[in-house]
């Protein structure tokens, strides 16, 4: 429980939106300090300095590492105001304070920004149980999902359930290095019920070069951020097969449509319009023309599927794993379990290519053979 908690508990109907109370200032913690986490801290820190409803200071939880120089990463960040390891050359704002102690980093915060790699969220949430303010609001910038056979569990739902707090999401066409350089881009905040909360997140992330739009569709926004990586793998295959622009555009469109149908299958509340937002069509475009999923999939296809994704990832990604390959396996399992694989020929074919059951050229042949898109 945070030190200020007693002053806010009266306003229970407001679901944690305490910062409109006179004199109350929101405190923000960013949980995660990779490239995207560091950029998120930079965006947020710009705004907490300029908006009177926020404390200036932004805590950033850093998974502590010792640099080659012998210095701790947190010390280096606090000394130089740069994440020297994951985002060198970019000033984060002097009000960003790196903290290696997770409990300490979150204890006062009523706004928690989750931006760790997908695979760490499970342990982080478990260790945070009972440690965050009960009136805190969370937002997840994490791509991926926890898949169980009965269906995927969204990261935002997982955070919500583990910590007993509401969780929104922020997704979009956001290559982190371009935002770090302050090139214009935009993102979508997906929120559940409370428009006021959504507007606080919008305020916290919006800068002159970063435009944020709120959408009341947390599931649609979050699933877009996850499923786009599957479409990017399909697009990478098309690139590797030198099929040209028409084919790539067709495959991207099929992918976008399967994304939409898959989202609606899991959550009937998902809105068509979400796919016109930055998290939808824009992020799909960015990911299918840049991004590592596309790149490794292209290499996979150029090698005729003879070198596995594991092998290519190890060679091309310095230990990072491709989200898309994992996601499409999980999607495939969900669809198989429900007997719906035939309705999602692109997703099914991507998985069957990734797992070596079909050659990369199947990405086009499935379209040619069926010749009717069944959704």
């Amino acid at each position: 429980m945070g030190e200020n908690a007693t002053t806010h508990h009266t306003n229970s109907a407001n679901n944690g939106a305490n910062d409109n109370q006179i004199g109350f200032k929101s405190r923000v913690s960013v949980i995660g300090s990779g490239r995207w986490g560091s950029v998120a801290a930079k965006l947020v820190a710009f705004n907490t300095l300029n908006l009177s409803s926020f404390h200036d200071e932004v805590k950033m939880w850093v998974f502590e590492e010792t640099l080659q120089s012998g210095e701790k990463l947190t010390d280096a960040i606090n000394r130089t105001n740069e994440n020297v390891k994951y985002l060198p050359g970019i000033k984060l704002g002097k009000n960003v304070i790196a903290d290696p102690d997770l409990d300490n980093a979150v204890k006062d915060a009523n706004m928690l920004v989750f931006v760790t790699p997908h695979q760490f969220i499970d342990n982080i949430c478990k260790s945070l149980v009972g440690k965050v303010r009960s009136d805190a609001e969370a937002i997840s910038l994490i791509k991926g999902m926890e898949v169980k056979i009965e269906g995927p569990c969204l990261i935002s739902t997982y955070i919500s359930e583990q910590l007993g707090i509401n969780c929104s999401v922020l997704m979009g066409a956001n290559l982190a290095n371009e935002i770090a350089e302050e090139k214009f881009s935009e993102a979508t905040v997906g929120y559940r019920n409370n428009r006021e909360i959504a507007e606080q997140w919008v305020q916290l992330f919006t800068t002159p070069y970063f435009m944020v739009t709120p959408v009341q569709d947390v599931e649609g926004v979050e699933l877009c951020g996850t499923l786009k990586n599957v479409v990017a793998i399909a697009a990478g295959f098309v690139d590797g097969l030198d099929m040209g622009n028409n084919t790539k555009a067709a495959i991207i469109r099929f992918g976008l449509r399967e994304m939409r149908e898959f989202c609606k299958l899991l959550f009937s509340s998902v809105k068509d319009d979400t796919f016109f937002e930055s998290c939808g069509v824009a992020d799909v475009i960015t990911t299918c023309f840049g991004g590592r999923n596309r790149k490794v999939a292209e290499a996979f296809a150029r090698n005729g599927g003879k070198r596995s994704f594991d092998e290519l990832e190890a060679e091309m990604l310095q230990g990072q794993k491709l989200q898309g390959v994992t996601t499409v396996r999980e999607v495939y399992e969900v669809l198989r379990h429900r007997g719906l694989l035939e309705l999602f020929p692109l997703f099914a074919t991507v998985h069957e290519i990734c797992s070596g059951c079909l050659p990369p050229s199947a990405i086009v042949i499935y379209s040619e053979k069926k010749n009717i898109f069944p959704v």
Copy 2:
């Protein structure tokens, strides 16, 4: 009036869909023989050979030219079965017969495929008045519109009104040279009322490598094919300014949304789903990453707007004109006339950049300044 017309006039309720009558075979004419016209003839000729409901022969009206060799273009096409000038190296099918006489090319046809450059359609239609079968059906593959101050007149509407026949459209992510090489791609048929007619067009164009989907939204499909060129110019500016992937994806998304809103403004019947079809998002992607509008706009931005579009077109396009520059001027006039420019900041800004009123960098600044997309 065609020689077979008397046998079909009984079926007036069928709105020209006579080819289901026993023993009746549709006759197809392609009006136009540029690159896209030649590819269209190739697609159609493949199907008329294989489908019993069509006469094998496909007439292709060719604007006669004398080649450097002294041979007439029509003779060369009929001798080699290739359009040696506009699509060399690609066999059209032996059942494609080039004809320099427009009246003769259309007189027996009950299915007319219009695929000429935009600027020729006016004269062609005028000279065809009273010459086509009254039960003929038309389809337009032409991008562009006839703009009057009260709003744009679609090419399909123009053909319909001039010739007194129904006109559908076919649009999509269709770089002609890639289809000529039989690389997989897809397109959208937009039709007005008669699903049977739409299915005949689908049948006539579908091949194992060319997938066609019918959509009952002729205005939406046709306007997509026109407006995408405006978005491509915006995308080209972003490329020329080296703004990166996020910015480009954002600008494409804004463009797609203004396309949708502009279409709905002109025709309330336009459907959101049309923008998920090949004519929508897929064609926008193809055009914003390939295509000449993007290319010249990139050059324009790299030169800081100091060399005019006219000058760059002359240098880069061998006498072809950019559709997008004309279209966006027409769109701008429509919006200005209706007092709606503020609702379409991307379209407005593109025109103001093209016409030299704003520098190319305004394409991003408009977003940064307004920071809220008003549609």
